[in-house]
């Protein structure tokens, strides 16, 4: 096939724009953070050393590299605060994702099974909360969860509790906030895959002697596995790094990793340590997951 130069140029440009975007706004900032994590904190502007001084020429560059060290990573290993913080994040992200799946799957399934003309309406309703800022919605939850807020009033009125419990500053509040906020991210990929499901497959399963519930586990669920994976990753990864929700709703006794990074940056003004925490988060947690997902998708395609 013969291709004209102009076409190929524009074609390549279109393909490369997303890569250029990722390079400029993801890879380069990450390299800056990586460099920062190898620096030392200092009372200066910026608050770390060394700073690359190109004016000093070759000596400057040599001095710059010799000043880099892994001290911050050693610090992460020596203080259990960081490890606990990672574990806390993973724990909350894992349980939240599981609960999201348990709530989101039936919602997505129900939308996919309603008559087609309702689909658009139901999908819009699912994403409707996004029309309000996350911050405002979380403040609303703070109101709802207050000791004399609407939730406790209802619980007391129904006689379910004798004394209004404290919700705010607990893990429960964090879970409520996270599950509320991330539900659309779970529902949408699941809906996308369930909506395409061929219903004759369920009839075939019934015809071959399979009850409805069994047919679900043998046919529907396996066929929706890629949607489950996509939804789970779409929730799990951002929840691990979540800051706003646990900071506003959760307790301070065992912070999530996002809160730890915030504290290092703004509380302790220790940019290098904060950067090291962030780099470990990306390298140890996010990268392996994305790699695994990439492999799984490739396997799925090859099948």
């Amino acid at each position: 096939m013969k291709r004209q130069r102009g076409e190929s140029f524009w074609g390549m440009l279109v393909v490369r724009i997303p890569y250029a975007w990722l390079l400029a706004f993801f890879l380069i900032p990450f390299l800056i953070v990586l460099k920062m994590s190898l620096s030392q904190t200092a009372i200066a502007q910026p608050p770390y050393t060394p700073v690359l001084d190109l004016a000093a020429g070759w000596h400057g560059i040599a001095a710059f590299f010799s000043a880099l060290s892994f001290d911050n990573y050693v610090l992460l290993g020596s203080d259990p605060l960081y490890l606990l913080s990672y574990l806390k994040s993973v724990e909350i992200a894992a349980f939240s994702t599981l609960i999201l799946l348990l709530i989101g799957y039936p919602i997505a399934y129900a939308i996919a099974r309603t008559p087609r003309r309702w689909h658009a309406v139901l999908v819009v309703l699912t994403v409707l909360p996004f029309w309000t800022s996350l911050l405002i919605r979380i403040y609303a939850w703070m109101n709802i969860l207050e000791r004399d807020g609407p939730l406790n009033k209802v619980l007391v009125a129904l006689g379910l509790v004798s004394k209004p419990p404290a919700w705010l500053a607990t893990d429960t509040a964090t879970y409520i906030g996270i599950i509320y906020s991330y539900l659309p991210f779970m529902v949408l990929p699941l809906y996308a895959i369930l909506e395409k499901m061929d219903e004759t497959l369920l009839e075939a399963a019934a015809d071959l002697g399979c009850r409805r519930w069994r047919a679900f586990w043998r046919v529907t669920f396996p066929l929706s596995a890629s949607g489950v994976l996509a939804g789970a990753l779409l929730c799990f990864i951002p929840i691990v790094g979540e800051f706003v929700i646990p900071d506003l709703l959760g307790g301070s006794q065992s912070p999530m990793i996002g809160q730890t990074i915030w504290t290092e940056f703004f509380g302790n003004k220790d940019w290098p340590a904060a950067s090291a925490v962030a780099v470990v988060l990306v390298c140890v947690l996010v990268t392996p997951i994305l790699f695994y997902q990439h492999q799984a998708m490739r396997m799925a395609r090859r099948d």
Binding site: A206, D207, R211
Partner: protein, 376 residues
């Protein structure tokens, strides 16, 4: 006379005390006020290859799905082996269906697809393995067991679907347009394989199709359906040679129809555009009643000379058009009064030219045997 046209001497429906495997008793099923199946009754016998034939929307698929249990009839009963199926859910009916789309499970390989139904029965692993292997061998799929459905050709997928529904040894196998997705040549080959398979296994097959040649080839009996009703139920030859109505005569194959009145002796039709047309058998209707004489195009002979014998029906015509189909030629002809007719002549001899050319004056003749008198 009810065994007329029966293949292989198999005609349980002609038995004076027939015992049906499946009885459909006055079944109706409507969708949004429109009757898809309208008060339909039908008996299907053990070992029979039965075809439901009709144009799309005639209710044949709804009837099949009602037998499988995917549709619940509004009224009437479906009785299999003397058991009313109404309270039996699809997953407990001793009936299996082969879907038009095949509905193979895309996430399971061929073996697992075929084993699916047996696993639901909780059979021991060894027996499942043996029966799946037998089925793969019977349908010549031995080397494909580990493949996924999308890695197979259309014809192979069709066999897997068949294997999956046969492996459970159903009392009744339902086939919904099983060959519709295959190309024409493969369809022809598969039809004969399907017949062979049905005879070898001695199972009862009910096939839904809109393709009349498929129904004629496969079935012991055909039920011709239109708008939820049965138009005629009979062996293929009887449906073709003795249709019971203009609708059936016209739906199955080609036909020339002549409207007229029944003669006093009850064996000919008078006052048609072709004059008086003789039939071989008497018709059970009042003399003078409105009837139609029907004749199939291939029963008509074309000659340049008028016939000498006086028994046959004969009429003068002009050749309007000739369609050459290879094995036969279809003549479009015009008779007095401008009525169009069709005649089909088998091209038996060497290609030495046509029986008659364009615009030529010819004589059409056919025997009284070939004239069917229809009262509706």
């Amino acid at each position: 006379m009810r065994t007329f046209g029966a293949k292989r001497g198999f005609a349980p429906w002609a038995d004076p005390n027939p015992r049906a495997l499946l009885r459909i008793e006055a079944v109706s099923k409507g969708f949004g006020g429109v009757a898809a199946v309208d008060h339909l009754s039908l008996d299907i016998f053990e070992g029979e290859f039965f075809a439901l034939l009709g144009p799309s929307g005639c209710g044949k698929t709804t009837l099949l799905r009602s037998i499988a249990g995917f549709e619940r009839p509004d009224t009437g009963r479906i009785v299999l082996d003397g058991v009313d199926l109404a309270p039996v859910p699809p997953y407990r009916r001793p009936v299996n269906m082969m879907f038009q789309s095949y509905a193979l499970f895309p996430h399971l390989n061929i073996e697992a697809n075929i084993a699916f139904g047996l696993k639901q029965e909780g059979l021991p692993r060894r027996e499942i393995g043996q029966r799946v292997a037998d089925m793969l061998a019977m349908l010549k799929l031995e080397n494909l067991g580990r493949r996924k459905p999308h890695q197979l050709s259309g014809g192979q997928r069709q066999r897997v679907a068949l294997a999956r529904s046969l492996v459970k040894r159903p009392r009744l196998l339902l086939l919904d347009e099983p060959l519709a997705a295959l190309d024409k040549k493969l369809r022809g080959e598969t039809q004969f394989e399907l017949m062979e398979l049905q005879r070898r296994l001695g199972l009862t097959f009910v096939i839904v199709t809109h393709d009349q040649s498929e129904a004629m080839t496969l079935a012991d009996r055909i039920a011709v359906m239109d708008r939820g009703r049965l138009m005629q139920v009979a062996p293929p030859a009887e449906i073709y040679e003795r249709p019971n109505s203009r609708w059936v005569a016209d739906f199955i194959g080609e036909v020339n129809l002549f409207e007229g009145r029944l003669s006093d002796d009850g064996a000919s039709v008078e006052g048609t555009v072709a004059g008086r047309l003789r039939a071989a058998a008497k018709v059970d209707a009042e003399p003078g009643a409105q009837v139609w004489a029907a004749v199939r195009p291939e029963k008509i002979a074309i000659a340049r000379e008028p016939p000498t014998s006086g028994d046959d029906n004969s009429i003068a015509a002009t050749v309007v058009d000739i369609g050459y189909l290879g094995d036969m030629s279809v003549y479009k002809l015009r008779i007095a009064g401008g009525t169009q007719m069709k005649a089909a002549i088998a091209n038996i001899g060497r290609p030495t030219g046509e029986v008659a050319g364009f615009d030529e004056e010819v004589w059409l003749t056919w025997s009284p045997d070939a004239t069917i008198v229809l009262t509706r």
